[in-house]
Point group: C2
Chain length 231, copies 2
């Protein structure tokens, strides 16, 4: 299968201004020669729990899930990462091996930058260090916040949260195609698959949303937000 994908020059990367704005042209050139940009088709593994951490990973495009394997048939999803997120979280600094697996839930492009190179920049370029840590801190903080938001709510509130998450923070639209299955939603919000399906049906019957397979349209944002607020 042909994949139409060309490796970018970091200098032209839309995210240059985001993550690497404080690097000099020299440093950026170094990253550019050393980085590996990989394309992953939906469903492909980016890394597996236990893999050695060698690179700093950066989601350039697409959507991935971080998860732990519980049993043969059940996983527990920790978070969904979106473009600009540093995937692998902070483990890269505090662990030798990945503590979560990462899989693409949409066709994705991930940038791999040798961790030692990043560390050398942290050492030599203080401005970059500060800015860089602000960015990765925000990602980790957000994971904690999301876990708390989910766990303090019950079924309907959690489903509302997920719908609002995709609508507001990922797709910026009231109409989108769900990138994950009902089972995966269940694994993300710690609920049974059947109940996820049931609540989605309930929301459909109550005209909060419209569903056609994976396609979802939010019809009544206000009511959905009320479910989210009430828990």
């Amino acid at each position: 299968m042909e994949i139409n994908h060309k490796v970018h020059n970091c200098k032209d990367c839309v995210y240059r201004s985001w993550a690497f704005k404080n690097l000099s042209d020299e440093e950026l050139k170094l990253i550019n020669t050393k980085k590996v940009e990989k394309f992953y088709r939906k469903g492909e593994h980016i890394c597996v729990e236990g893999d050695e951490i060698k690179d700093f990973m950066y989601l350039q495009n697409g959507l991935v899930k971080l998860y732990k394997t519980e049993t043969n048939t059940r996983e527990h999803i920790i978070s969904i990462a979106k473009p600009k997120d540093f995937i692998g979280l902070l483990s890269v600094f505090s662990n030798k091996a990945h503590i979560y697996s990462i899989t693409a839930i949409e066709d994705s492009v991930v940038c791999f930058v040798d961790l030692e190179l990043i560390k050398s920049f942290i050492k030599s370029n203080g401005i970059f260090a500060i800015d860089f840590f602000e960015k990765i801190s925000a990602v980790s903080d957000n994971v904690i916040k999301t876990r708390v938001d989910i766990n303090t709510r019950q079924l309907r509130g959690r489903i509302a949260y997920i719908l609002l998450l995709f609508s507001k923070h990922i797709y910026n639209s009231t109409k989108f195609s769900l990138p994950i299955s009902r089972k995966e939603i269940a694994e993300l919000i710690d609920m049974s698959t059947e109940n996820v399906i049931r609540v989605l049906s309930e929301f459909r019957k109550d005209k909060l949303i419209q569903i056609e397979g994976k396609s979802i349209e939010i019809l009544d944002l206000e009511k959905l937000e009320k479910f989210y607020e009430l828990g």
Copy 2:
């Protein structure tokens, strides 16, 4: 009320080798003159959600809880921090204001170091920067891991988790005095207070633990671990 407490010199601090081992004597002296070491009695607030973040906070001694206020009567506890933990998490780098409140659950000593000073060391001392981020990353990673551990278990598994947490990771003893109330345990594991009490009574009746008020002794570690593993 008299408090017998004397401010230490950072150079003599037991944690020097932990957090600040890569600072020069010069730099350490600077911290020493600028840092503020505060003593908090059990129950006293260290900071409140919304407070401006000015300092990097470091738990030298004692035990504190991080939490969000949900309603007038209910809080949600994010984590319990122990000595050597950086409290306030990564928010210090990604936020202007504290997103959680922090209160001492045991008499505690907290070191406050001006955040700008820390940042200046990150900029000027690369070795310190790397080591420092490894340390704070581990704390945040651990919070995420704990939340996942709790949420993938049900009542008995969660209570077992909490008991093992205090026993193994905080007090290093099978006998200890619970620093938090049953209600606070409930707020930490997202369960009702009544059920926390019920399961503790059940564990007592089944001779897994012995309870006398706040004093807890673990009698059957193996069975407790089995509850933890099963969920």
